[in-house]
């Protein structure tokens, strides 16, 4: 089993995309979108994080399904924590 070696070009490309994403986050934050400011900011962050995970952390090239399972379950657990507890906070005044 030989490890996948990504090309230099790809790395630089991802790097530039990430930098652009950062600038974009700052710029978009100044445009009034109401609650969507947060949505946009977090979406950009998620795209950036996904790029890092897939390319810098090589998840795209691993044959190991397990890595994906580990990441996804950690995110699901985070979602459990946030969603179920917000079920309390959001309905306390009802």
């Amino acid at each position: 089993m030989s490890e996948h070696v990504s090309s230099l070009k790809l790395y630089i490309g991802i790097w530039i995309t990430l930098l652009i994403g950062t600038v974009l986050t700052v710029v978009v934050a100044k445009i009034p979108l109401g609650p969507f400011n947060a949505v946009v900011a977090l979406s950009i962050a998620t795209i950036k994080a996904t790029l890092v995970v897939l390319f810098f952390m090589h998840v795209k090239y691993t044959h190991e399904k397990l890595t994906r399972v580990v990441i996804i379950s950690a995110l699901c657990w985070l979602a459990i924590l946030l969603a179920l507890s917000m079920a309390d906070y959001a309905t306390r005044l009802w």
Partner: protein, 235 residues
């Protein structure tokens, strides 16, 4: 501690001194280390997750005060730091690539660059902390944060709620910085080994796993930046 292979193991030749006694093959060892790091990162997600939960609750309750607190942050420094971390992620990725290709010098150069970028990040963070300190934005008896809620000149900032924002800011960025310091320490150790030429295309697991850790710390910051610096900036 326990690197000497037992005499009894089946006929596998131990050319690689890094192969520990209880693994049958190098691949098994590498896969174990890799999975171990990923599982560890999963625990890290939950560790920061607890903070994100606290953040979410109070941001929901005290949105205005959070907006005000956020606007006192220095976006230039924060943004620069984001870029610095992204660059360091690139250099780590390149270090791993260099190891895969067996470019000894390149590994060392990339790792040193990474550590430098990490230190730059910590330096800038230090400047920001210092500013907060001077401005009395550090939670405690001398905490003082006058002004009004962004977009509502009529609503003054609630000191207690703003203090919660800054508490979360310091704890979240502080824990993040602690992770950075640990990362730099790890890389210092690995750089030493790299200089002695211990890594080669068949064995570079430490570079790779430490790299995973570093990327993860980068990702946390990718979220912290908008969450802490960019609340309600459009007002």
């Amino acid at each position: 501690m326990h690197t000497s292979p037992p005499a009894t193991v089946e006929g596998v030749a131990h050319e690689n001194p890094a192969l520990l006694h209880h693994f049958a093959t190098e691949e098994q060892q590498k896969n174990a280390a890799n999975l171990g790091m990923w599982v560890f990162l999963a625990t890290e997600i939950m560790f920061f997750g607890g903070m994100f939960f606290a953040y979410l609750v109070y941001r929901y309750w005290y949105f205005g005060d959070f907006g005000a607190g956020s606007q006192s942050m220095n976006v230039t420094l924060g943004g620069t730091n984001t870029a610095v971390l992204i660059c360091s992620s690139l250099t780590v990725a390149l270090a791993v690539r260099a190891a895969q290709l067996g470019k000894q010098k390149m590994i060392v150069v990339c790792l040193i660059l990474t550590m430098l970028l990490g230190l730059v990040f910590l330096g800038i963070k230090g400047v920001e902390y210092h500013d907060k300190f001077v401005e009395h934005h550090v939670p405690g008896p001398s905490f003082y944060f006058p002004g009004h809620v962004p977009g509502h000149v009529n609503i003054p900032i609630n000191q207690q709620h703003a203090q919660i924002f800054f508490s979360l800011y310091f704890i979240m960025t502080g824990l993040h910085a602690l992770h950075m310091i640990i990362g730099v320490g790890l890389f210092a150790f690995i750089t030493l080994h790299a200089m002695r030429g211990r890594y080669h295309p068949n064995y570079y697991t430490p570079v790779e796993t430490a790299g995973l850790y570093w990327h993860f710390v980068d990702i946390i910051w990718i979220y912290l930046f908008p969450l802490l610096y960019l609340i309600d900036r459009s007002q």
